[in-house]
Symmetry: C2
Subunit: 325 residues, 2 copies
């Protein structure tokens, strides 16, 4: 270790760095949409980063594209597998299709038919299993068929890919505050990595549903605190029900300035305002960061703020409800 | 005239050139959103240029911003005026506000309350007059108060501003075909100017509602053919009911490769698909170019195609209807 550069570690975990995020940006450039910052209708100091405009409707495409692209070619050729009931599954399917390699997505048998159909439409084989068996089923498929597992957040290449959201924000604006939703923590880890490296004076604050505030609790405890599924599944923000991992928690501990929570009502109010006032189709999870700004401004530092809008796969019944006003 | 460069003219009209569009791009850079190209869900060869993401919900902000910015400072300081029932009025109001100068928007007294409110919310003074008196009323306001008139399309600075849509398309994609809606023809003139200069091999084709096909008829006749208001007002695409001018027709004659028409049903079908399949809130006028692709592909050249999505100010009743499916 005498000659090598120092590698920052938190509790023995090697963190993703700006270089990794920049490399990811080069890797995925042709595969994702370079989203602009949109001035928000709610404040001249708030911009939205509309990741709902990605072809699969969510930022997840960035991490999945990077992870699939960085597999050794021979490994990738055999195909990939993941388990997801939502946006990550579609992202891996899309990335696999663009490389022309097979893809299996293990989904819980309670997943909505339109999500199953959307994943199949991207060329993936969907395997339905009881919700509790998802991870073991995916691991079994990986082992049986020799497929590479692409996890939704607990992977350095995924975190680096999600971090490109932060890199683009840093390129576009001398930002003072970035608000980012926290589910598994992959996006928040990557965005905080890019923003803190590029604008060291800017704050990065996570936003969670109060009904799935496991990341806030884990940060306070300094260790991963797992909330039971019965508890996190109460929130309408279905993309944010997952728990942080050791890897993502280490990033959040090192680079996040804080975490605030929003209520279910605040999330739904903001998702509706996105549709009716900002002309954006946004799912509840995607509205969480902007809900933090709209409803908790007093808890936040001031200045030029960006809220990451993570996804737009809004269920048809909620679309109807928001449009009805 | 001995030493000057040749200026192309059509029937004595001096056309806007690539240089003008490039200058407009520099002028308006900080005032408009640099929209990306979005892969469409309907074909791997179709991309959407989502101008509904502009802060006022339509591409009109580009032309208005350029025209207001290019006024001599002393003239601009006195304020601006325009007549518009829709997106152009909001665009001029937004541009005037960003320069801190007064703005009057003359609107027909039959305009919807939410359009009047949106224009006022941008700081403009709204003057309501009978629809037939709009132009004369706006001219009277301009003369009485010494305000500069910012026309919706019949002006070189407006055409050059709208042309920045084409410049961005040319920067992002080696495009084979661009589909652009035609109302007054300002956008089509500007986009064709930029695309033909940057990708001479690409085709630029206009799309009009069949119920307001005055531009197609004017092109065929080689002269401006005015359709009576009772006729053009039948189309749901309210942004495309206006007539081309001598200035815009000269650009279309010189640079457009053709013009096709779409039915009311095709327009509404596409606006609904934008919401439900592409996660974009799009008004009927904004769906016209994509409707041309979705329903008239056999009439079009093949290859990499961009459809310009011009605006997203969808009336609440249509939003409800599209969301209901």
């Amino acid at each position: 270790m005498l000659a090598g550069p120092a590698v920052p570690k938190v509790c023995g975990v090697e963190l993703v760095e700006l270089d990794d995020v920049q490399e990811a940006a080069d890797t995925i450039r042709a595969m994702v949409v370079r989203t602009p910052l949109l001035p928000s209708p709610w404040s001249p100091e708030l911009w939205l980063k509309p990741e709902n405009l990605q072809p699969t409707g969510a930022f997840k495409l960035r991490g999945a594209s990077n992870a699939v692209a960085r597999l050794p070619a021979s490994r990738r050729a055999a195909g990939v597998v993941t388990q997801s009931s939502g946006n990550h599954g579609q992202a891996v399917a899309y990335a696999a299709r663009s490389h022309g390699v097979p893809c299996v997505v293990v989904m819980p048998d309670v997943a909505g038919p339109h999500k199953i159909e959307a994943t199949r439409a991207l060329g993936a084989e969907v395997v339905l299993v009881p919700a509790a068996d998802r991870q073991t089923a995916a691991e079994a498929v990986a082992a049986d068929r020799g497929l590479a597992m692409i996890p939704p957040f607990d992977h350095r290449d995924v975190i680096a890919g999600q971090g490109t959201v932060g890199l683009e924000i840093a390129d576009d604006l001398a930002v003072d505050l970035v608000l980012v939703p926290v589910g598994g923590g992959g996006l928040a880890s990557g965005v905080a990595t890019a923003i803190k490296a590029r604008h060291p004076g800017a704050a990065v604050i996570g936003v969670e549903p109060a009904l799935a505030a496991d990341a806030q609790e884990s940060l306070a405890a300094g260790a991963v605190r797992v909330w039971p599924v019965e508890r996190t599944y109460r929130t309408v923000a279905d993309g944010l029900r997952t728990q942080v991992s050791e890897l993502t928690l280490a990033h959040l501990q090192a680079r996040l300035d804080g975490i605030i929570t929003v209520t279910e009502e605040e999330i739904l109010d903001t998702a509706e305002a996105m549709l009716r006032e900002a002309r954006l189709v946004v799912e509840p999870s995607g509205a969480v960061a902007a809900a933090g700004y709209r409803h908790h401004r007093g808890e936040l530092p001031g200045g030029r703020t960006v809220a990451v809008v993570t996804g737009g796969n809004l269920a048809p019944d909620l679309l109807r409800r928001f449009a009805a006003g």
